[in-house]
């Protein structure tokens, strides 16, 4: 309908709306440029229930717990954990807590020089068993659901497959890369030796956060233009701006990758693709993914460009006993496990439903 076909009342309404939106655009635009009014991220109330070095175990407060098995989320080493607790009303942690789970999150902190020597064994054999012990102590439960996101999924799978009493009843792998041959061009450059891991490690002994940010940015360098244009169009919408700022902050907020773990990752995961051929050693132990007693859910996102589906799919055929393996293909991209419309419409309800179906109801 053209403006000429509108009734005077409708026309006035449209003019009013446009004037109001222009005002809101100007106000939000100024706030955005000034960097003020930034949303507070990762703000669901929580307590630190265990810590070691920089690793911390958080237990989220509130919500009535319906399920007997607590849920321990293991986050990635390369990004900040608050993607899973981005904003009030748009937080995976909040969603899971409100659906009756006693939610814990293992956050690795921000590595510095002191952590340059942290290898995979540091995370799998030192931090994870202690964090699981802490969850058991806090809740009095012997079994839990462990959900690993991205590289956290690899650590969770290594932990669940490499220990005599891991206490993992359900193992949820969210966008977990196992086939590093499918991980994209930067990984390919490392595999073929065109990029040397030593070229990426700085004087702190770690891979700096900037390098990781560049790696992710280069996956689609021009999308920033489309994102900014979409922001401009929706600048009047406070909710949209808040979500945009939160995501933009998370995207830029990478953490350094501990040097020793990075070298191991390149040597074992990338160059030998050892997660796929079963020749992986962590802390001197040979890892056999089929030894885990856990019921395994391999959840992957259809449009994930960070961990492409081809890299995540093999987890469904390698981790756990064949009769205990489940698979979930979700719409959306890499962050659908944490935020976005698709997260709350599809991903989180599906994940919560699966975990609930494989947990015991708590006796009152």
């Amino acid at each position: 309908m053209t403006p000429l076909q509108l009734s005077p009342g409708d026309l006035l309404g449209r003019v009013n709306r446009d004037v109001e939106r222009s005002y809101l655009r100007a106000r939000n635009g100024l706030r955005y440029v000034r960097g003020s009014n930034r949303p507070k991220l990762g703000s669901t109330p929580k307590d630190v229930v265990w810590h070691r070095d920089k690793a911390q175990l958080w237990r989220y407060r509130g919500g009535s717990v319906r399920f007997a098995q607590p849920l321990l989320i293991v986050t990635s080493l390369v990004s900040r954990s608050y993607i899973l607790d981005l904003l009030p009303g748009s937080s995976a942690v909040e969603f899971l807590r409100d659906h009756g789970f006693d939610v814990f999150m293992l956050d690795w902190g921000i590595p510095d020089e002191l952590d340059a020597g942290n290898g995979l064994a540091t995370y799998v054999d030192e931090y994870l068993p202690r964090a699981v012990d802490a969850v058991r102590r806090e809740t009095g439960c012997t079994e839990l659901t462990m959900a690993g996101y991205c590289l956290g999924g690899v650590l969770a799978a290594l932990y669940a497959s490499g220990h005599p009493d891991p206490g993992v009843r359900n193992l949820v792998l969210m966008a977990t890369p196992l086939d590093f041959d499918e991980m994209g061009p930067m990984v390919a450059a490392l595999r073929e030796g065109r990029l040397d891991p030593e070229d990426l490690v700085d004087e702190t002994g770690n891979v700096p956060a900037d390098v990781l940010y560049s790696g992710f940015f280069m996956l689609a360098p021009t999308t920033v233009v489309a994102q900014r244009a979409t922001l401009l169009e929706n600048l009047w919408n406070d909710e949209f701006v808040r979500g945009f700022q939160a995501m933009a902050q998370w995207t830029r907020d990478q953490v350094p990758f501990p040097g020793a773990a990075f070298r191991e990752l390149v040597e074992q995961f990338v160059r030998r693709n050892a997660l796929m051929d079963g020749s992986l050693h962590v802390g001197g132990r040979e890892i056999d993914f089929t030894t885990t007693e856990a019921i395994v859910l391999n959840a992957m996102a259809e449009k994930d460009t960070v961990v492409p589906r081809a890299a995540a799919e093999p987890a469904g055929a390698l981790v756990g006993r064949p009769e205990r393996r489940h698979r979930l293909l979700l719409p959306g991209g890499h962050v659908t496990f944490g935020t976005g419309r698709s997260a709350f419409r599809h991903t989180l309800p599906s994940l919560a439903g699966w975990i609930a179906a494989h947990s015991d109801e708590r006796s009152s």
Binding site: E113, P185, R194, L195, A220, T222, T223
Partner: protein, 94 residues
């Protein structure tokens, strides 16, 4: 969606496709690797000259401070290892 936004999005995809193909190519990574090695060589050369100048004036250079930080970090790591070994021994004894 307004027309201007549709045009921007379409343009972004038109340009983005070839840009992504370029930055995902072998040549790009070869160039990045060479640039990073080159920049490291240049930094080393500049640092070596400035270090000599500063040392002439008996002043510490950035590389000296970096070396001290590295040594401190190594010592910190060693202390951490020892405290963890001690903790493990105490656990065994308990």
């Amino acid at each position: 969606m307004p027309l201007w936004l549709r045009i921007v999005l379409r343009l972004e995809r038109a340009v983005g496709g070839p840009v992504e193909a370029a930055v995902h190519s072998d040549t790009y990574f070869d160039v990045v690797a060479e640039l990073s090695r080159g920049s490291r060589r240049v930094t080393d050369a500049v640092e070596s000259v400035s270090k000599r100048g500063l040392h002439l004036l008996n002043l510490p250079a950035g590389t000296d401070i970096r070396r001290v930080r590295e040594q401190l970090a190594r010592m910190d790591r060693r202390l951490l290892e020892i405290s963890k070994e001690l903790e493990a021994l105490e656990r065994e004894r308990a």
